[in-house]
């Protein structure tokens, strides 16, 4: 993956100053900025402080901000996730880090039964401005209990806003927007992308978390995706470009509530769709996007919607099986050539 070279839009924006850093560094700078800008913000999670973050995202922040604002917590996911919700009710702006998305199920009661419901159950009296960050995704041979694409589980729940951090720009710019939101936000970050370097506009934050974003404009087919699918789709689009195929890449970014307008706009332009996601196929984000397209702009389609999804299997350990369990660039390329009969 060489993401920065794919950003067609930036190449045409000559006046924009870009910066280059790893996805991890972008996440860290976003946290640091939030802590500096608002004294109500604190980061709480397992090993975020003395250990430096399980994936070194928060390394050095304890030394900079002290233990009241970088809080190490015991292995009590429900307890500290709920404490984040309570602290948000009490006027703070907590960032709750769940070490991996798998552990989020131990906090699922708090997220689904409390964070997502309080505003409604209280008739609008109590909003919950809490942010849950969780590292997720597939691709580091972490096997079935440490690698998952569970965005659809969370995106099913009214009351939550679910964001997928698929680019460096969003790694740097989504947190500030999430913290400014009055409601609970779940941020999916991707472990496999942490070391990846990328380039993005220097003054891009906070980003708009109300809408999807066209990462590459094209006219022949829409690749609708999110998370790690974004860079894979951009790589595929670059390769397809050489074959004379001009693919559009739409990064959903906001998985709940979905930006339906961006989806229908893109489909109405290209009339062909490939949806790419790492979550397993059944009852997924791609299922929902497919349904929306059928409902809202069926007659714009010139070909059946195609999907490339995670294979329906707990993630296996061996590299070759793990790679085979999620969509890869080559499959995107060949599927699109097939759809376009080229």
């Amino acid at each position: 993956m060489i993401p920065h070279e794919n950003f067609k839009e930036y190449k045409h924006m000559e006046s924009v100053t870009t910066i280059r850093m790893t996805y991890r560094e972008a996440l860290k700078q976003a946290i640091r900025e939030a802590l500096r800008n608002d004294e109500r913000v604190f980061l709480m999670g397992e090993d975020v402080g003395r250990y430096g973050g399980a994936f070194a995202v928060s390394k050095g922040l304890l030394q900079e901000f002290g233990p009241d604002r970088i809080m190490d917590v015991p292995l009590s996911e429900s307890g500290f996730a709920g404490a984040g919700i309570g602290a948000a009710l009490g006027g703070m702006r907590p960032i709750i880090e769940i070490m991996t998305v798998n552990f989020s199920l131990l906090a699922f009661d708090q997220i689904a039964n409390n964070a997502a419901t309080l505003l409604h159950m209280s008739g609008g009296q109590l909003n919950v401005p809490v942010v849950f960050r969780m590292s997720s995704g597939i691709g580091r041979q972490l096997a079935a209990q440490h690698s998952h694409s569970w965005e659809p589980l969370f995106a099913h729940i009214p009351g939550l806003k679910v964001l997928s951090v698929g680019t460096h720009e969003d790694a740097r710019g989504m947190l500030a927007a999430a913290l400014a939101d009055p409601d609970p936000v779940v941020l999916f970050e991707y472990t496999a992308m942490l070391n990846l370097e990328g380039e993005f506009p220097a003054n891009n934050h906070p980003v708009n978390i109300a809408s999807a974003k066209v990462r590459r404009a094209g006219k022949d087919i829409s690749i609708i995706t999110y998370g790690p699918g974004v860079y894979k789709a951009l790589d595929a689009a670059r390769e397809l470009d050489a074959s004379g195929i001009d693919a559009e890449v739409l990064d959903l970014r906001v998985l709940r509530p979905l930006d339906e307008r961006a989806i229908t706009d893109s489909v109405s332009k290209t009339h062909k769709v490939l949806i790419v996601e790492e979550a397993s196929r059944s009852v997924s984000i791609s299922s929902e996007v497919t349904a929306r397209i059928i409902e809202k702009c069926f007659y714009e389609l010139d070909a059946p919607i195609q999907r490339l999804c995670g294979v329906e299997v707990p993630i296996p350990y061996p590299r070759h099986l793990e790679e085979a369990s999620i969509p890869q660039k080559d499959q995107i390329v060949s599927t699109i050539k097939n759809i376009l009969k080229k």
Binding site: G86, N113, H120, M121
Partner: protein, 331 residues
């Protein structure tokens, strides 16, 4: 309107104990009326009555300050009344009317009043304990002197969230008054089938937290214990675990045939009815007369009647507004 009447009555009362009596009688009569309205299908869903346990909410909440936070279970009508949530707004909430204290969206199990720092009405057993912890953490971080009082049943003590919250509150040294209302049954499961150790207050030792247990049928004893506990929590900024041993006279909810306990056991506990206990104390020691008692009953009856009228007169939210309160409205 109801609110004004209630406040008037409270200031008219001579002693703390007489206020307790009024509040407990109001809870009792209010809930009897709610049960009646349930059978008339004015109230639907789950309705969990607090009858028999009135001394716990009354004793504890009177030991708190208005700025303190309160979180409760789904059996929370009593706590809401003692906290001063308008009885009319509570009844309207159970009716599902717009004028309810949660705008009708919550019902009996989800009474909220942000202006009274009354944070529900939470219906996942032990699910609100971590939130209580977080509210107290925010108070500590913001250097506010208020405390958080969290009610839960002994059923919650079997949940992981209880143990996580106890540990974290002690680890972080945050001001929470944990109040266990031990009514001996988690729905239909008796405490001996739920807990290896049934004197629950000793569990606090595992978290290095002070604790006490008290006769939850004796409101004076509950108030006394809660007053000391709340004072300690406020002073030290550290948590405390208070177990109130009580008993629910009615079924778990309106769907409960009570197959799990003998009528004789219920009758035995009714001999220690918290209202009767306090009334006889007041008759014996504070010169309260049967006439006073009758006048109080009449007043309580009229407050409840006004609450029903308020609920009956309430309005239904338009279906157009169905998806309100899922996300905050843009300011």
């Amino acid at each position: 309107m109801e609110q004004q009447h209630q406040q008037e009555e409270l200031t008219m009362e001579k002693s703390r104990e007489q206020q307790f009596l009024y509040q407990m009688m109001l809870i009792r009569r209010f809930e009897e009326k709610a049960a009646e309205m349930y059978t008339k299908e004015k109230i639907r869903g789950f309705l969990h009555l607090y009858i028999g346990e009135e001394a716990v909410a009354t004793g504890v909440i009177n030991a708190l300050r208005p700025e303190d936070n309160i979180l409760c279970t789904y059996r929370e009508h009593g706590q809401a009344i003692v906290r001063g949530v308008d009885p009319g707004a509570i009844m309207a909430e159970m009716y599902g009317k717009r004028e309810g204290c949660s705008g009708g969206r919550g019902g009996s199990m989800h009474l909220f009043d942000a202006s009274k720092r009354f944070y529900g009405g939470n219906a996942i057993v032990a699910g609100h304990l971590p939130m209580a912890l977080g509210l107290a953490l925010a108070d500590k971080k913001m250097r506010r002197k208020q405390i958080t009082c969290c009610f839960f049943g002994e059923g919650a003590v079997a949940e992981g969230e209880f143990h996580e919250s106890m540990n974290l509150s002690s680890l972080w040294q945050v001001p929470v008054l944990w109040v266990c209302e031990n009514n001996l049954y988690a729905m239909g499961t008796a405490i001996k089938y739920s807990h290896a150790v049934t004197n629950l207050e000793v569990k606090a030792a595992g978290y290095g937290m002070p604790s006490a247990s008290v006769d939850g049928m004796d409101v004076r004893a509950v108030w006394d214990a809660a007053e000391k506990a709340a004072h300690g929590v406020r002073d030290s900024g550290k948590p405390f675990f208070l177990v109130c041993n009580t008993y629910r006279f009615r079924a778990h909810s309106m769907f409960d045939a009570e197959l799990y306990r003998d009528k004789s056991e219920v009758e035995e506990w009714k001999k220690r009815d918290p209202i009767a206990l306090l009334a006889s104390y007041l008759l014996d020691h504070e010169g309260m007369t049967n006439e006073d008692f009758k006048a109080l009953e009449e007043h309580v009856g009229s407050v409840v009647e006004q609450a029903v009228q308020f609920a009956e007169a309430g309005t239904w939210e338009s279906i157009d507004e169905l998806t309100k309160f899922v996300y905050s409205e843009p300011k």
